[in-house]
């Protein structure tokens, strides 16, 4: 039986090794700066969740250590030995005192965990919306995000701009979450937990990011073929940058005489049935609003960078970038394609 003990310890060492590997890999430094680590919170709801998580991790860690040690001790101490192979051990049927002890202690632990959790649920979910908060309506579509700022008259897609919220002048953002088709879920781990976008079932969530930068996330609820490439970019801007962004979004891009040909292609094909371009007759709502396409860093809900070549490829054959996307391949001639891409590039 000695041999199996050795194997048991070999197993233990292996497990400890994997836990060490796990801790190493979860080190925030090993991921990029635009990380999506749930333990690197940058806003109040995310921070409350992280604090609760660390508390829960400590309690469960202690339980794990105690029970694991008990299990290992029992296995090693009471392993059968060859000398007493033929003897049966003392037959013990149970003990009410011990049963009571290991019933009551877990109940107390559950009560503590529950109270700590209920407090955070209330603090995050029932936070009142202050008067100065920014309202945004986020609408899930099959494989892209629509963002509407009702008070500012802005409509954009996939890249959400919100102001940073300082301790002295808090300016949180309250999102109303809607869906036009299937279920989606808004998840930017460093700004908060996820909330689903469900058709016919409006939801809300809020965030007050405390540092500027780009925060990444993506749709977390399986929504169809291209669920994987329904990505989110949240740009948290300083107050001046945010005002500048709002002003540029509110301004209709001046018409570039060099892009008239492309605009004609856009308006004479099916493009305008699905896409809107401010100040023109294109007023579709099925696809993303293109009024300020060039102000976005990515296209196709984050599936590709917003470059000339990607834009051209996307219009020519969307399935080359995102198979299953609902945008059809427009089968334009090369000349029309170039014209429409140069028209897109004027939409600043």
């Amino acid at each position: 039986m000695k041999y199996s003990t050795v194997r048991f310890f070999a197993q233990l060492i292996l497990l400890l090794f994997w836990f060490a590997a796990a801790v190493w890999a979860s080190d925030p430094k090993s991921s990029s700066s635009n990380g999506t680590n749930i333990f690197a919170p940058a806003s109040t709801p995310a921070r409350s969740i992280t604090n609760l998580s660390v508390f829960v991790l400590c309690i469960t860690g202690i339980i794990f250590a105690v029970v694991f040690a008990l299990l290992v001790y029992t296995t090693v101490k009471f392993r059968g030995r060859r000398v007493d192979d033929r003897r049966e051990p003392a037959q013990v049927y149970g003990s009410m005192q011990i049963e009571l002890a290991w019933t009551i202690i877990p109940i107390l632990i559950v009560v503590v965990l529950f109270l700590a959790t209920a407090r955070v649920i209330h603090a995050v979910q029932d936070a009142p919306e202050p008067a100065g908060a920014l309202d945004v309506i986020a609408i899930g579509h099959q494989y892209w995000w629509e963002f509407r700022y009702p008070k500012l008259g802005i409509v954009t897609a996939n890249e959400l701009h919100i102001p940073v919220s300082g301790p002295d002048d808090p300016s949180p953002t309250f999102l109303q979450l809607l869906s036009v088709d299937t279920d989606h879920s808004f998840w930017v781990p460093e700004l908060g937990g996820k909330t689903d976008l469900i058709p016919n079932h409006p939801n809300k969530m809020w965030m007050d990011p405390q540092r500027t930068g780009i925060f990444l996330g993506q749709c977390a609820q399986y929504c169809g073929t291209q669920h994987a490439k329904m990505m989110l970019r949240v740009s948290v801007d300083g107050p001046d940058d945010f005002s500048a962004w709002v002003r540029s979004q509110q301004t209709i891009a001046p018409e570039d005489p060099g892009a008239t040909a492309g605009r004609r292609v856009f308006e004479q094909n099916a493009c305008m049935n699905c896409h809107r371009v401010g100040g023109t007759s294109a007023d579709g709502r099925f696809g993303p609003d293109l009024s300020h396409l060039m102000s976005r860093a990515t296209i196709a809900a984050g599936a590709a960078e917003n470059t000339h070549d990607n834009l051209r490829l996307w219009i020519q054959d969307p399935s080359a970038i995102k198979p299953g996307s609902l945008m059809p391949a427009m089968k334009l001639s090369d000349a029309d394609l170039d014209a429409v891409v140069s028209y897109m590039e004027t939409l600043k």
Binding site: S31, I49, S53, L71, Y93, V110, A118, D196
Partner: protein, 557 residues
């Protein structure tokens, strides 16, 4: 006590032609043969579900991989989940219950043998319907064959607008048909245990195995019925113009979630409670002690069953329930941890002071205890609903429930295979292959599912067919995939062991483990009638009483 088969001197039974033999298997109503049919069909679908898992893992090995298209990937995870839950886990557990419950309570068959056969063939038909979708699911050009809506088929993704063709219909029918089979089996198990116990076997003397399967069967009745109702409503939506889940016409997507999870969560306990039953039989025998705290074990099981009926919405913490609902389901979910903890402590209490023999069934049982502990603790983490707002729908959840299903349920099942295979076939499984299987599978399991928690913490959602580089997910996913292949090799070792030992294994005899329940009092494999004369029992461990007349259990009851 009937310890021998009836033999008629001078009569030689001739071998039958294989067609007759096949006909006997197909037309059988014998609980043992049906049990084996359940188990063999489950092993077959385990292979298929395993291949689907490997396809998923190859695709996710590195970012922007192009091994399969997104459509195929989505079908693979849908089919993998549906297959493993409905056509592997449930049938194999029903198989063991079918085979062992009558033997353990001293009965000659299940209460309703023909219902038993009917239930098995319904389940099997369900599996065939699901897999027929690969051939007949398209329905119209470009609709795609097998279902790709996820194993929950959340509304409105399962509606005709988003799931054209017939793939979702095959999914719905498969679950509906096999669900009726499950309900039939559950009724049968309940009736058998309540009505067919041998003389002297009071409820308080039943082996824990029978108790736990009784509780499981009761849960099946309560859990499968809402699922079947929801499937019928979905069919009405898809074909008769209903709007239950049609959000474009005022229907409710959330209603489907409630229907699905009020099945879905009790289902987890439907699967794990029979595994508790295996462990509660195996740990005492290999620790050479009776189960510690038998009445508490029964009470804790009933308590788990009861509380687990009110925890379903912890699968829905992200759908925007109000703070009171979130708090309620946090409390109930954490509360399940108490009776579950009691069970773990009682198993350790059983081992405490024993003489533990590390045979393969016991190795898998200890693996089960260790992994189930971790699975329970990550479950507590996700019960804290704010923590779940981060963890839910991420790879952390995938790792958590695979810890339950593979680390818990599958390890307990392997323990059960090594423990009862000798009874079913008359041959011992090879110990050396068994140990190889155990260590390979243990390493593969931890490589895959320990590491899989981390991408979830780093923000990787589940059900994505590809991911962007630079998120810190590549290396982790690569390790996870390697572990999956090690597990696959271990499963091949296991199957080889099953086949080789069937022909070349050591003779088992009636009672190879020196065990205490009634199935070990009769030959291996048992004759069709099980017991030549019905046994009479005076305690929970009738064979202990026989082997130790100087100190029988019956003296203490």
């Amino acid at each position: 006590m009937s310890s021998n088969a009836i033999t008629i001197p001078g009569v030689q039974i001739e071998a039958r032609p294989w067609v007759d033999e096949l006909h006997q298997w197909l037309a059988t109503v014998d609980h043992k043969r049906l049990g084996i049919l359940y188990i063999v069909s489950a092993l077959f679908f385990l292979m298929i579900g395993g291949v689907e898992a490997l396809i998923i893992r190859v695709q996710l090995m590195h970012s922007h991989n192009n091994f399969v298209s997104p459509e195929v990937f989505n079908r693979m995870f849908t089919m993998h989940g549906t297959t493993m839950i409905f056509f592997v886990a449930m049938p194999v557990l029903f198989g063991f219950a079918n085979y062992l419950v009558p033997l353990m309570i001293g009965a000659r068959d299940m209460a309703f043998p023909r219902l038993n056969a009917f239930s098995f063939w319904l389940s099997f038909l369900g599996a065939l319907l699901l897999y027929f979708s690969f051939l007949g699911g398209s329905g119209l050009y470009g609709a795609g064959n097998a279902p790709d809506v996820g194993w929950w088929s959340y509304a409105p993704l399962g509606a005709r607008a988003f799931s054209p063709g017939h793939s979702s219909d095959y999914w719905t029918l498969a679950l509906l048909v096999s669900g009726f089979g499950s309900i039939g089996t559950a009724i049968n198990i309940i009736a058998t245990i309540l009505c067919l116990r041998c003389p002297g076997m009071k409820l308080s003397r039943m082996p824990l195995f029978a108790w736990l399967n009784l509780v499981m069967a009761g849960m099946v009745l309560l859990a499968i019925t809402p699922l079947s109702a929801a499937q019928i409503m979905l069919l009405i939506d898809r074909y008769l113009g209903g709007h239950f889940f049609d959000t474009q016409a005022g229907g409710s997507a959330v209603l489907w979630m409630h229907f699905f999870w009020i099945f879905g969560h009790p289902e987890v306990y439907v699967l794990i409670i029979p595994c508790f039953a295996f462990i509660s039989e195996i740990i005492p025998v290999f620790s050479r002690k009776p189960i510690f705290g038998y009445p508490v074990m029964v009470a804790a099981t009933v308590c788990i069953a009861f509380v687990s009926m009110s925890v379903w919405a912890h699968h829905m913490f992200t759908i925007g329930m109000n703070s009171y609902a979130n708090s309620f389901f946090t409390l109930t979910t954490m509360a399940v941890g108490v009776p579950t903890g009691i069970k773990i402590f009682n198993w350790i209490g059983t081992m405490w002071g024993g003489r533990i023999q590390f045979k393969t069934p016991m190795l898998f049982s200890i693996g089960f205890l260790f992994q189930f502990l971790i699975a329970g603790l990550t479950g507590i983490m996700m019960a804290a609903s704010p923590f779940d707002w981060q963890l839910s729908l991420s790879y952390f959840v995938v790792a958590h429930f695979h810890y339950v299903i593979v680390g818990g349920i599958l390890f307990a099942l392997f323990a059960a295979f090594y423990y009862w295979y000798p009874k079913m076939t008359g041959r011992m499984l090879s110990e050396s292959l068994g140990r190889l299987h155990f260590w390979l599978f243990l390493i593969g399991f931890h490589l895959t599912f320990d590491v899989m928690h981390i991408p979830g913490i780093l923000g990787m959602p589940r059900r994505i067919y590809t991911y962007e580089p630079g998120r810190g997910w590549d290396t982790l996913n690569f390790i996870v995939s390697i572990g999956a292949f090690i597990q696959a090799i271990a499963i091949l070792v296991f199957v080889a062991n099953l086949i080789i030992s069937y022909f070349k294994g050591d003779e088992a005899g009636n009672d190879p483990w020196d065990a205490w329940t009634l199935e070990w009092s009769i030959p291996s494999p048992p004759p069709a009638y099980n017991f030549a004369t019905l046994p009479t029992v005076a305690s929970r461990r009738p064979l202990w009483d026989l082997k130790h007349p100087e100190d029988p259990d019956s003296r203490y009851e």
